[in-house]
Point group: C2
Chain length 220, copies 2
């Protein structure tokens, strides 16, 4: 089965109400892309909001990370370019408008995640003019591959944010079936690839969450 078979083929949003031909072609492509990504606001994550009782969507999550970067950048173990790191988090979940959200503790959905997401990227970014399609695809690849200090810090934020929301929910997805404190520790340890201080603090929260019974106990 070709990878693209994972991705539902449907019209882009702006095809239902195209921008007029009087708009220059390049700008029209950019606006079409910017309208298409409106779908990110409809992709639900598992994380519970702290402010009201409902699940978070990907656009809200991405904004939250974009604010966390400048607030927490001082804890990065390697120097990071804040503006570039924010761009990585703003872009990192875009492919989920076609590939959907893959819950962190869902091993089954995790199996074909990479193929689904790559097919989604192949479909989404080419909506942009060629030079920008390449540029934004590179940003997404950089995030995924964690090759740079910026990408490692962006990934750390991506793991830390739902972690703080789970604390506020006194459990949240920590209480997904079969998940133990050891699983949480293992999945969250990438925070330590970017920041020893943040990983130490996160480890404190895991230990405290375990003590309070907000996640199933681990072995240590």
């Amino acid at each position: 089965m070709p990878e693209s078979a994972h991705v539902t083929e449907e019209k882009t949003l702006s095809e239902s109400n195209p921008f007029p031909d009087s708009i220059p072609e390049r700008l029209r492509a950019q606006w079409n892309f910017l309208i298409e990504v409106d779908k990110l606001k409809t992709v639900l994550r598992q994380s519970p909001l702290a402010a009201v009782e409902r699940r978070e969507n990907d656009a809200e999550h991405s904004w939250h990370l974009a604010l966390m970067v400048p607030v927490l950048a001082e804890y990065a173990d390697e120097p990071i370019d804040i503006g570039r790191t924010i761009q990585l988090v703003v872009v990192h979940d875009l492919i989920e408008i076609y590939a959907g959200d893959t819950p962190l503790y869902d091993a089954e959905a995790g199996r074909d995640q990479e193929a689904r997401e790559r097919a989604a990227a192949d479909r989404l970014f080419p909506l942009l003019p060629d030079d920008q399609a390449t540029h934004f695809r590179e940003l997404w690849d950089e995030f995924e591959q964690r090759r740079t200090p910026e990408a490692r810090f962006a990934k750390a934020m991506d793991r830390l944010q739902p972690f703080l929301l789970n604390w506020m929910a006194r459990g949240g997805t920590w209480q997904a079936p079969g998940v133990t404190a050891d699983d949480v520790r293992r999945r969250k340890s990438v925070i330590g690839d970017a920041s020893g201080a943040l990983w130490e603090a996160a480890s404190e929260l895991i230990a405290e969450g375990e003590r309070r019974g907000w996640m199933r106990p681990g072995q240590g």
Copy 2:
């Protein structure tokens, strides 16, 4: 009446479930702030989403602007620092967690908007450690005062984004009571302070929207 009387005094979100004392004090203040701003996801705007039938919230809107900045930066009439401009849009609506959203075409709510928003800023940013409280307040002031090319471009994105959503909705808030094409033109002309090309394209859309009856005709 003191300005602060406009702002409801209530507990911060994290006070309901404080982070443990084992987390260093500075980091705890930063996490408390990052949890408090979760409220931005509950502040509804007037704009209709393009992807589904519901109104947009401020966090979704802020994320959308953060993506528009790098996609449309090439149209800025003055050179802009993309990373800094994104920081401005990520921060620009934070004060609405206390001050609420003020619809663009609501003259009455517009009257005390500045005082309400300043009081909200005085309450929100000091949740952060002093140095960061000052830094993020300055970012917000910069956006509001449009003193820099980055702030002018950020403001242009803030006006352009709901404008594109209104196009997709074949009217949206353009159809608010009493609003004419001239009002839209007047309110959107700040786009031209940052980009002649984007203002020209927006003017084309206004003219086309007027022709199609999606807004009340203006005088020209």
